[in-house]
């Protein structure tokens, strides 16, 4: 219960901002928060988290907020890598061969979601393969 007290503001924000499937529980000294919401609310929650636990240093919270659950096939996605090109792979893991690349800020199309980490995408040049969702941001 102490952790729910520490992250009270975060939990209240999650409750009021509208997080679907919100699931909050504590186990072995770690608080787990799961749910789905919009990108803006996810950002708000993470900023609150960082304020309550600077640099996320305590390691007492695992927050898994999915902001891409509602993204549907055919959605345009922008490549948001830090600097490099985005690899497009034959299968949904880094062990699979690279079959193409998408440049930073290029817009690609979601074909389907293999899982939360890997999506099958298609570039405007017709290259198709799996890319890591971390580097794909849905265009609103």
């Amino acid at each position: 219960m102490a952790l729910q007290e520490k992250y009270k503001e975060l939990i209240e924000t999650a409750n009021t901002a509208g997080v679907s499937g919100l699931n909050i529980r504590e186990q072995d000294g770690v608080l787990y928060i799961d749910g789905s919401t919009s990108g803006a609310v996810k950002q708000q929650l993470w900023d609150t988290y960082e304020r309550l636990d600077p640099n996320y240093a305590s390691g007492d919270l695992v927050m898994n907020i999915n902001s891409v659950a509602g993204v549907t096939e055919g959605t345009k996605l922008k490549v948001t890598t830090n600097s490099s090109n985005l690899n497009i792979r034959k299968g949904p893991s880094t062990n699979d061969d690279i079959v193409g690349k998408a440049a930073r800020n290029e817009v690609v199309t979601l074909v389907n979601k293999a899982n939360d980490q890997w999506w099958l995408i298609k570039t405007d040049q017709g290259e198709e393969g799996y890319s890591y969702t971390q580097y794909l941001t849905p265009l609103a």
Binding site: W46, N55, Y56, G59, V62, N64, I65, N82, Q117, Q134
Partner: protein, 168 residues
């Protein structure tokens, strides 16, 4: 005198029995019908579906347990609004059900592979996985920390330990 008295008593008794029978037929739903109606109402609401009801002479008694006080009151109202229910005895207990899904921690092999993919874009960070705990070492720009933590915490780790990570 005695005879007419007896006749009068008899007449009164017949009247009383008839009145009772008539009013009984007219306005008192059977307890079983009330019970069925209340049960239907209770089952319609997930918050009250754990409640059980018995009805005796129009008095509904609620037993069992519901998850919260709201459910307890909702069950009370649901029973009280059924026409023919005279009163409600609410014996419901509130037992918070742990509806939260259990914490699922990814298996180390899958987690290790996922962590490797996730940290690829942060070459100055090294990550190891043991018993679901992701331990980060090396260094990272503060501006990138949130992004890294967002990605790692989405992989269903037991915890993410960045106490050995140098944040610049």
């Amino acid at each position: 005198m005695k005879k007419s008295m007896n006749r009068m008593i008899a007449a009164l008794m017949v009247f009383a029995v008839m009145t009772a029978a008539l009013t009984g037929c007219k306005s008192k739903p059977k307890d079983a019908d009330l019970k069925a109606a209340i049960e239907t109402a209770l089952l319609a609401n997930p918050a009250t579906s754990g409640a059980m009801v018995t009805v005796n002479e129009g008095v509904a008694t609620l037993n069992g347990s519901v998850a919260d006080e709201t459910g307890k009151q909702a069950a009370d109202r649901a029973a009280a609004t059924i026409p023919g229910v005279k009163s409600v005895v609410n014996n419901l207990t509130v037992t918070p059900v742990n509806t939260a899904a259990p914490v699922v921690v990814a298996a180390d092999d899958a987690l290790t592979a996922a962590v490797k993919d996730a940290t690829k874009d942060f070459p100055t960070v090294t990550a190891t996985v043991s018993d679901g705990v992701v331990t980060l070492k090396g260094e990272i720009q503060k501006a990138n920390l949130q992004k890294l933590m967002m990605v790692l915490q989405a992989l269903k780790p037991k915890k993410v330990d960045n106490s050995q990570l140098v944040i610049k």
